[in-house]
C-alpha cells in the first residue's frame, strides 16, 4: 500500500514510456489532420509550408458541403430521438421486467454491435429499395437507429441498474401511478444517463459512413458520404478541414457527456 505512490524503478519508466508511445500513436493522426487543415498549400503536405484558413473557407463556402452538414445533423438528431426513446423503454423492460427470454432479447438488441455494419447496411439497402425509400433522411436515421440502439441500451440499462428501485417503490406507496412514478421520480434521477446515451446515439450517427453510403441519394448526402466521394475524385486539404470539423463535433459531444456524468452522479442506495 505504502509503495503505491513511488514509481521510480526502471520497470515503471518503461511502462510510462510505452503508455506514452501508445497515446502518441492514437492521437498523432488527429493532430496531423488538424495541422494540415490550416495549411496554405494546394495539396496535402506535412508539415504545411504556410498557414491559412482557406480550406475552411472552401468547406463552408461550397453549398454542397453546407447541405451535407445539414443532412448529417438531421439524420443524427432523428437517430438520437428514435434510439433514445426505443432504448429507454427497452432498458426499462430488460432491467425491471420479469419475463422469459430476457437474455435472448438483450443479446438481440446488442447484435448490431457484433454484426459487421456492412451487412446491416446491405440489408437495410434492400429493405428500403423495395419501399423506394432510399435517399431519404428518415431511412438513414432508421438505419442509424439500429446501430445506435446497443449503445443506448447499454448506457441506460447500466444507469437503471445503479438506480435504487426503492425511490420508485416509495413513489408508488405514496399513491403515484406507475407512469407518474416514472415521470416524476425515475426519469429525473436517471436523466444524466439518458442524456449521455442520447449524445452517444448522435455521435454514432454523425460520423458513420456505411449506412448513408448505401442509403443516400444523389442529392441527399451526409458529410461522411461527401468526404468519401471527394476522396475518390480530388484530394485537397478541404478534406482535412472537414475531418477537423467532424473531430471538433465529436470532442464537443463527448465533452458534454463527460460533464453530464460528473455533474449528475446517479444517486444510489
Amino acid at each position: 500500500m505504502g509503495e503505491e505512490g513511488q514509481r521510480t524503478g526502471p520497470g515503471a519508466v518503461a511502462v510510462a514510456a510505452l503508455a506514452g508511445a501508445v497515446l502518441l500513436f492514437l492521437i498523432a493522426p488527429v493532430v496531423i489532420i488538424l495541422i494540415v487543415s490550416f495549411s496554405g498549400a494546394d495539396y496535402l503536405r506535412f508539415p504545411p509550408p504556410s498557414l491559412s484558413l482557406r480550406w475552411y473557407q472552401r468547406f463552408f463556402g461550397i453549398a454542397a458541403w453546407r447541405q451535407a452538414i445539414g443532412v448529417s445533423t438531421q439524420v443524427a438528431l432523428l437517430t438520437m430521438v428514435f434510439a433514445t426513446m426505443l432504448g429507454f423503454f427497452a432498458s426499462l423492460a430488460l432491467v425491471r421486467g420479469r419475463f422469459r427470454g430476457k437474455g435472448a432479447i438483450y443479446a438481440f438488441l446488442l447484435s448490431p454491435m457484433i454484426v459487421p455494419t456492412i451487412i446491416t447496411a446491405i440489408g437495410l439497402y434492400f429493405f428500403f429499395a423495395r419501399l423506394k425509400a432510399t435517399g431519404s433522411i428518415l431511412a438513414m436515421a432508421l438505419g442509424h437507429t439500429v446501430l445506435a440502439l446497443p449503445v443506448v441500451v447499454i448506457i441506460i440499462a447500466a444507469t437503471l441498474q445503479g438506480f435504487d428501485v426503492r425511490f420508485e417503490q416509495a413513489a408508488l406507496s405514496l399513491g403515484a401511478s406507475r407512469f407518474t412514478a416514472l415521470r416524476r421520480v425515475t426519469l429525473p434521477l436517471i436523466m444524466p444517463g439518458v442524456l449521455s446515451a442520447a449524445l452517444f446515439a448522435f455521435l454514432t450517427s454523425f460520423d458513420e459512413l456505411l449506412i448513408p453510403l448505401f442509403l443516400s441519394g444523389v442529392e441527399v448526402q451526409t458529410l461522411t458520404v461527401r468526404v468519401w466521394n471527394s476522396l475518390l475524385l480530388e484530394v485537397d486539404p478541404t478534406i482535412a478541414a472537414v475531418s477537423s470539423f467532424l473531430i471538433g463535433v465529436t470532442i464537443t459531444v463527448l465533452g458534454a457527456s463527460a460533464l453530464l456524468r460528473g455533474h449528475g452522479e446517479t444517486p444510489g442506495t
Partner: protein
C-alpha cells in the same frame, strides 16, 4: 424457495406492531407483501377487514418508510412531503398547510427549501416519515427505518417515533432486527424465524414468558441449562436434573412429561448471588446452586459475572451496581438463587 410461511397476526387499530427477527427471517418480505411489492402465493392481507390482494401498492393507502430513506434527491423537503398530496390533487392552500403541519410534527420547521443532500441521515429519515404520514395512510409500514442511524440518535428517534405514533393514533407495522428497539417501541411484537412467526405478544410477555428457546435467546439474554425432567410436577413446576447433577424447578413453556429432555432458560438478572451456604436455602420455593466466579465485568449500570457451575458449564449473572447488593470477587465461591417461576423449560430436540 419459500421465504415466508405460516405468518398470521392481527394488528389492533392505532397500535404499534413490530416484526422482529434476524436477517433472513422473512420479516421484510412479510412487510413487502403488506405493501404490495411482494406477492403471497397463498394467504391474504386484510386492512379494515378488506382484502388487499387485488390492489397494487399505489392503491393501498399505506405509508411506507424505508431504511434507505428513499427521500427523492431531486426534490426539496417541501416537494418531497407535498408529493403524495399533489398525487391526490389536493388544493395548493391545503398542501401548504398540511406540509407545514407535517414538518412541525417531525420538528423540521424551516427546512422546506432544502434539498435532501443538505440534510443529515436523521433529518432525511424525518422527511421520509413526514412524507409517509402527510396523506393520513391507513397503516404506516416501516422497514428498519432507524438502522442506518448511530446509537444515540437511534434511541432518540425511537422515543420520538413512539410519541408521534401515540399522538396521531396511527397503526404502525414496524420491521427490525434490533430486539431492544422492538421492546422499547412496540405494543405487540411478532418474533420471526425462518419465515415463521415464533411468538406474538407484548414485550413483557415475550421477555418474561418466551414460548421457545429461540425467543428466549433472541430477545434479551438467557442462560441455557440442559437436563431431564424427573418425576411429576408439583404446583405446575417440574423438577429437572441437569447433566451435571444440578436439581431445580421450572415452568414448562409447552406441555411436558416426566422423563423428557428439556432445556431450561434463565435470564442473567434473575440469578441472585446470596450469602451463606446454598444448602441453607433449600426450601423448595427457591432454586439454588453453587459455583465459582470466573470473571466479573463492570458494565456501568450492572456487573456481569461468569459463574462456573462445574459439569453444567458456566452461567452469566447480572447484578445491578447498587449499595447493599452482594457483589462477589473473581475466584470467590458463590451461591446463586432464583425463582422456579423464572425458569422456562423447553423440550430439547427443537432448535
Amino acid at each position: 424457495m419459500v421465504a415466508v410461511q405460516d405468518v398470521s397476526a392481527t394488528i389492533d387499530r392505532g397500535s404499534f406492531f413490530t416484526l422482529l427477527g434476524p436477517s433472513g427471517s422473512g420479516k421484510t418480505t412479510t412487510l413487502m407483501m403488506v405493501a404490495g411489492f411482494a406477492y403471497p402465493t397463498q394467504g391474504e392481507v386484510f386492512v379494515d377487514g378488506k382484502p388487499l390482494a387485488g390492489l397494487p401498492p399505489q392503491k393501498r393507502e399505506l405509508g411506507m418508510v424505508f431504511q434507505s430513506y428513499a427521500v427523492f434527491p431531486h426534490l426539496t423537503v417541501f416537494d418531497n412531503i407535498a408529493f403524495p398530496l399533489q398525487i391526490r390533487r389536493a388544493r395548493r392552500a391545503e398542501i401548504r398547510q398540511r406540509v407545514g403541519e407535517a414538518l412541525e410534527l417531525v420538528q423540521l420547521q424551516g427546512y422546506d427549501r432544502r434539498l435532501p443532500r443538505q440534510l443529515s441521515g436523521g433529518e432525511q429519515q424525518r422527511v421520509a416519515l413526514a412524507r409517509a404520514l402527510v396523506f393520513r395512510p391507513r397503516v404506516l409500514l416501516m422497514d428498519e427505518p432507524l438502522g442506518a442511524l448511530d446509537k444515540k440518535l437511534r434511541a432518540h428517534m425511537q422515543l420520538e417515533l413512539k410519541h408521534i405514533q401515540r399522538h396521531l393514533h396511527v397503526t404502525v407495522m414496524y420491521v427490525t432486527h434490533d430486539q431492544e428497539e422492538a421492546l422499547t417501541m412496540s405494543d405487540r411484537v411478532a418474533v420471526m424465524q425462518s419465515g415463521r412467526i415464533e411468538q406474538v405478544g407484548t414485550p413483557a410477555e415475550l421477555y418474561e414468558a418466551p414460548a421457545s428457546r429461540f425467543v428466549a435467546d433472541f430477545l434479551g439474554e438467557s442462560n441455557f441449562v440442559d437436563g431431564v425432567i424427573v418425576g411429576a410436577p408439583t404446583a405446575g413446576r417440574w423438577l429437572v436434573r441437569s447433566g451435571g447433577g444440578l436439581e431445580f424447578r421450572g415452568v414448562g413453556a409447552v406441555p411436558l412429561q416426566a422423563g423428557q429432555p428439556v432445556t431450561a432458560a434463565i435470564r442473567p438478572e434473575k440469578l441472585v448471588p446470596v450469602e451463606g451456604p446454598a444448602d441453607a436455602l433449600q426450601t423448595g420455593a427457591v432454586n439454588t446452586c453453587k459455583g465459582t466466579v470466573e470473571e466479573a465485568i463492570y458494565v456501568g449500570d450492572a456487573t456481569r459475572y461468569r459463574v462456573a457451575l462445574g459439569a453444567d458449564g458456566a452461567v452469566t449473572v447480572k447484578v445491578p451496581n447498587r449499595l447493599g447488593l452482594r457483589r462477589p470477587a473473581e475466584g470467590e465461591a458463590v451461591a446463586l438463587a432464583w425463582s422456579p417461576d423464572e425458569t422456562r423449560l423447553f423440550p430439547r430436540g427443537e432448535t
